[in-house]
């Protein structure tokens, strides 16, 4: 029985000639886990919002959306609110009240349920989700993962039959994201909850889905089981960038078999059966440390936020050389952002010193540290925007937009909040480049970006590096740092562990490493990206073809 049926749905935003969604038709079976993917701006969010009556955007709509056989516009208010649930991207802003228990009870209060009923459902939900430990806390004191879990529980407490999720893990770190997806999987399997989820981070979601929907430029181009969709996808499709590593590997090696591997385990099996790889890839020799002058140094830095709290940074020492791109990795709350803020002069560590180009931070007076020296891109890039158009933003800091290695003229007349996340990132980066910094500090630049935007950002950073800028990135994104960093370091318990080139860093790790390395460990040492595996795998296959041809 189809729980959601969409027929010939087209939607135009007000004063737009081109439809955001064009003649989309599909139906979702009850109890299915469907993932919807596509590039930014393809209409995924619009489609999701059109399935939830209270969140429908303004505009012209043709076609119909039916929930459980009845058109959505004809469903009564209570059913529309409680039977369809919606979880959005931002964990922080979705929370309405200041206490966790009140947030859980909010939806049921809206429905006017009696006190006893609410009490029972709240107790049940809190127990199921494991929220009992933080039940009486303030919502402001929760971590990002806990907040998003609270949002999910607050929606699930209304006992919906269909759950719509719009990029719920975009703002979460990888571990919290994994836990969230696992909770969704559990809900689907145990409660037969129909789930329709939009995601960019497809590595975990695709193997769990029953069906994969692909949207391009407002139309639905594929709707089938994930294996079929990925096997049939052309190898040059731009969507492959966001797909699981095993699928990307399959296409990069030429799609030899009919079935595409989805998980890393299947990818490893695929490599073993269909690909002969050299047993070891060459590794670049380590860059000699005295080749360049030190640009930024932390010397035995100690920092903590409260007098009686444990140290966030404990004897942290790191030296970044001029012209290199360094990625600082580590778990949530490991102190990476703290180290960056201390370098930017926002925090003063209680012990230790930080030197910028050999001079102590206190030697830079009158804000000289921020002119032609250092610049930081914060985690939340919207904090940099104060004007009404992008043109004014860039003009404010006197940036020469031509010097920036990316054309921003297309967005000059838009409000900075109206562009997508990836575009905001680039505008903010252009803005801070106006200070002509020689060191660029980036705090989680790839948060919430799709594969395309990440690649664009990476290219811009490479171009800036060639102009001589030293780049320090704090990130959770292992795949990004494997491709774009010269050196990687792991921050653990306030201490730096292992600052080496990505080849050595990831090849030396067993768990904290890229998907490509996990798939190829033991088969081909020192391979850390899908591109490397593809390059050497293809070479081998080419050699074998040549050998076979020579023999005949």
């Amino acid at each position: 029985m189809a729980i959601l049926t969409v027929k010939d749905l087209s939607f135009w935003y007000p004063e737009q000639k081109k439809p955001a969604i064009e003649k989309v038709s599909f139906s979702v079976e009850a109890g299915a886990f469907v993932t919807l993917c596509g590039t930014t701006g393809c209409g995924k969010s619009t489609l999701l919002r059109l399935c939830k009556r209270e969140l429908m955007p303004h505009g012209t709509q043709n076609g119909s959306v039916c929930f459980q056989g009845k058109p959505l516009s004809a469903t009564d208010a209570r059913t529309a609110a409680s039977d369809i649930g919606f979880v959005a991207q931002q964990p922080e802003q979705q929370i309405v009240t200041d206490k966790v228990w009140h947030e859980l009870a909010f939806g049921l209060e809206n429905l006017g349920l009696p006190q006893q009923e609410i009490r029972r459902r709240v107790a049940e939900m809190a127990s199921y989700f494991g929220i009992t430990d933080w039940f009486e806390r303030d919502t402001a004191s929760l971590s990002g993962g806990q907040k998003q879990l609270l949002n999910l529980a607050a929606v699930m407490i209304m006992q919906p039959k269909l759950l719509l999720l719009d990029e719920p893990t975009a703002q979460l770190d990888p571990i919290a994201a994994g836990e969230f997806i696992a909770t969704l999987h559990q809900l689907n399997r145990e409660l037969s909850l129909t789930i329709l989820i939009t995601e960019h981070r497809l590595e975990e979601v695709v193997p769990l889905s029953d069906a994969l929907m692909v949207m391009e430029h407002g139309t639905l181009t594929a709707y089938d089981s994930p294996r079929n969709v990925l096997s049939a996808m052309p190898s040059t499709s731009p969507l492959l960038g966001g797909m699981p590593a095993a699928a990307r590997l399959y296409h990069a090696l030429g799609a030899a078999t009919a079935h595409c591997p989805l998980t890393q385990r299947e990818g490893r099996a695929y490599l073993q059966e269909h690909c002969t790889l050299p047993s070891r890839l060459p590794v670049m020799p380590p860059q000699s440390p005295s080749a360049s002058a030190p640009a930024l140094e932390w010397n035995s830095v100690y920092q903590r936020y409260h007098r009686n709290a444990p140290d966030v940074l404990s004897d942290f020492s790191l030296c970044i050389y001029e012209g290199e791109c360094f990625c600082l990795l580590g778990g949530n709350g490991a102190g990476k952002s703290t180290a960056l803020k201390a370098a930017a002069g926002l925090l003063k560590p209680y012990a230790g010193s930080i030197r910028v180009f050999g001079k102590k931070q206190s030697d830079y007076t009158n804000g000289a540290l921020y002119h032609h020296c250092l610049a930081m891109l914060p985690q939340n890039v919207q904090t940099l925007f104060v004007k009404n158009t992008v043109k004014e933003e860039l003009a404010e800091i006197g940036t020469a937009a031509e010097a920036f290695p990316f054309a921003l003229t297309q967005w000059y007349d838009r409000h900075p909040y109206d562009v997508s996340g990836g575009e905001q990132q680039l505008i903010a980066l252009a803005k801070i480049m106006g200070q002509k910094p020689r060191i660029l500090l980036l705090d989680e630049p790839t948060k919430g970006l799709d594969a395309d935007a990440k690649a664009r950002l990476g290219q811009v950073l490479r171009a800036l590096q060639q102009q001589g800028v030293t780049i320090v990135i704090v990130t959770h994104d292992i795949a990004f740092s494997a491709v774009y960093a010269q050196r990687c370091g792991l921050l653990f318990r306030g201490n730096l562990i292992a600052a080496e080139s990505p080849d050595r860093f990831f090849a030396g790790n067993h768990f904290y490493t890229t998907a490509a390395h996990r798939m190829s460990r033991g088969l081909c040492e020192n391979a850390i990206t899908v591109e490397q595996l593809a390059q050497y795998g293809r070479q081998r296959m080419q050699q074998e073809d040549d050998n076979a041809n020579d023999r005949t």
Binding site: V96, F106, P114
Partner: protein
């Protein structure tokens, strides 16, 4: 172990109200002394801010000494200062008023610690459940906006635009940050509004939920508070308290009603302290058996 303040909000609020109101409207030194003792006991158990003590002492001496300067009624003159007679009655009245202020100050400090936002809202929700929700949301948005303002100021500082030199520049920077926070708040308020309407806000009459359950112990507390207050009021109505200072201090006769009044008020005032103490002892005993 369940402390007094962890119970249902109604008995806690009733106790605080009765104790503070009786203290506010009386000028009997012994009664006020008992009120102060009870408040200090509760304050001590909470381990709160010690700067209040300094302020309290200042207040006491200030009031005691100011009253004779303004008020010249009273018959026993101690000495003349600048043509103003300083009378004993005025001094005593000043001292007792100051004592009343101290007692009420400490009780309100305890009140602000015990009655957190959600407890206060629970009491107000009978009046208006909508108000309770609005205040709860207001508290949440306030903390969100202040956190964002701090982040914006940091970002502005690192851009080199936060000038700290003179007042004009600082005001300008402050205004920029404020304007950016406002834009951010409006933009992200839409997400909150969507989240609310997605969960059915506004489709009908809202009910109200609270995690506070009225246990038997809470009923016991409430009854005790009401009974003790009734006894104190009985004693007051029979004139057991000292309330006349001008023109002469007239202390009322010490009879059964005085005993009743003072003992009842003493118990009322020290009720939370005694209850918590008893619970702690009981817990120690139970713990030793585990």
């Amino acid at each position: 172990m369940r402390r007094f303040e962890q119970g249902h909000p109604v008995p806690v609020a009733a106790h605080l109200l009765c104790t503070a109101l009786i203290a506010m409207f009386s000028r009997d030194p012994l009664l006020l002394g008992l009120a102060l003792v009870g408040a200090l006991g509760c304050y001590w158990q909470q381990k709160m801010d010690h700067k209040l003590h300094g302020f309290a002492v200042l207040l006491f001496f200030g009031f005691t000494l100011l009253n004779p300067l303004w008020n010249q009624s009273g018959t026993t003159v101690l000495f003349i200062l600048n043509d103003r007679p300083i009378t004993l009655e005025a001094l005593c009245y000043g001292a007792v008023s100051a004592l009343m202020l101290l007692a009420v100050l400490y009780w309100f400090a305890v009140f602000s610690r015990w009655m957190t936002a959600d407890r206060l809202l629970y009491l107000c929700r009978r009046l208006s459940p909508q108000l309770a929700l609005t205040v709860s949301m207001g508290i949440r948005q306030a903390s969100l906006l202040t956190a964002q303002l701090q982040r914006i100021r940091e970002a502005q500082m690192v851009m080199g635009l936060q000038q700290e030199q003179n007042l004009i520049d600082r005001m300008r920077s402050g205004l920029r940050s404020f304007s950016a926070t406002l834009s951010w708040g409006l933009e992200n308020g839409i997400v909150t509004a969507d989240s609310m309407s997605a969960r059915g806000y506004g489709i009908g009459k809202r009910s109200s939920f609270s995690i506070f359950v009225f246990h038997r112990k809470d009923a016991l507390h409430l009854l005790s508070v009401i009974a003790l207050t009734a006894l104190v009021l009985l004693g007051i109505s029979k004139g057991a308290l000292l309330d006349t200072y001008y023109p002469n201090i007239q202390s009322p006769p010490w009879n059964g009603y005085s005993w009743l009044c003072y003992c009842a008020y003493g118990l009322l005032s020290c009720y939370p302290m005694l209850h918590n103490g008893k619970e702690a002892l009981q817990w120690r005993y139970l713990q030793s058996k585990i």
